[in-house]
């Protein structure tokens, strides 16, 4: 059964491994043409941050986490 996707959440990883119960939702995309999603991240702090995404379908099922991406911010913008 595949009724369709409902939303994608971008999660900021706070621990050593993803934890969808505690990792904060950084952004949510409800507009998913053909399953494509997009987030614009504006980082206000320097450092190294890890993010991952998870998908929810319309029946309330949650996917496994995506691969984890690491974003390194060298300096804040002026």
């Amino acid at each position: 059964m595949s009724p369709g996707l409902q939303r994608i959440e971008l999660r900021k990883m706070t621990g050593e491994t993803p934890n969808i119960s505690t990792d904060p939702v950084y952004s949510t995309d409800f507009s998913l043409p053909e399953g494509k999603y997009s987030f614009n991240l504006t980082m206000n702090d320097t450092g190294t941050f890890k993010f991952y995404t998870i998908a929810y379908d319309v029946a309330g099922n949650v996917s496994n986490v995506s691969e984890i991406v690491t974003v390194k911010v060298e300096s804040e913008s002026e």
């Binding site: 059964m1 987030f39 379908d57 949650v62 996917s63 496994n64 390194k72």
Partner: protein
């Protein structure tokens, strides 16, 4: 002295019929006063012609055409989506009955059971689950039964229910209730960003694709 006759009356005192009890004073009669709010009371007459006082008036409602409704309790999709991610969702079968005039509530014995059937596709034979007893009261006129479904197949499932009255008669079935089971999790999203990228600006676009499990 023995009871010779039971005299039946409407609630307003209008005589209906004489009934002869058996030797133990027991009596029975199939009374048809038509459909809707009705009431009845009785007097007993002994062999000597002595008449008792009236019995208490009993209010009742024959000819009820109400049918149950079915709700999906474990609805995990949007409201009224009929979607659940459980293969064994809980459903609630409800019936609201008319309150007989003069009664404070519909007697709980009015609904001894709901009868439930379901099928996986929109056509074909129904699987009979049967009579579900231990009906609960929700209000003075509403009754319900919570029921955990047997393991359902993925996709559409259709349920129908009827209620059974105290005389053993069944109502008409309710309209079919569709329940859509989707217990498969979506595929994990892909991210169109190479791990370890460094950017000059602070705004990074993270995009990708995702799909629900086929």
């Amino acid at each position: 002295m023995a009871i010779k006759t039971i005299k039946l009356y409407k609630g307003d005192g209008t005589f209906i019929i004489d009934i002869t009890p058996d030797g133990s004073g027991n009596w029975t009669h199939e009374l048809d006063q038509g459909q809707g709010n009705k009431n009845v009371k009785a007097k007993a007459e002994d062999d000597a012609g002595n008449l008792s006082a009236f019995s208490p008036t009993k209010n009742y409602f024959p000819g009820c055409t109400n049918v149950p409704s079915i709700e999906l309790v474990d609805e995990t999709g949007a409201e009224e989506s009929e979607l659940t991610n459980s293969n064994t969702p809980q459903i609630k079968i409800c019936i609201e009955l008319p309150l007989p005039t003069g009664a404070s509530e519909v007697n709980a014995d009015s609904v001894p059971a709901f009868n439930l059937e379901y099928r996986h596709s929109s056509t074909g034979d129904f699987t009979v689950i049967g009579d579900l007893t231990a009906i609960q009261r929700e209000s003075s006129t509403k009754f319900y039964k919570l029921f955990t479904c047997p393991e359902l197949q993925e996709g559409q499932n259709f349920f129908k229910a009827k209620w059974k009255d105290a005389s053993g008669a069944y109502s008409e079935f309710c309209t079919l209730k569709q329940i859509i089971v989707d217990s498969q999790v979506p595929n994990a999203p892909t991210i169109n960003l190479s791990d370890g990228m460094v950017y000059i600006g602070q705004t990074v676009t993270i995009s990708g694709t995702s799909s629900d499990t086929p």
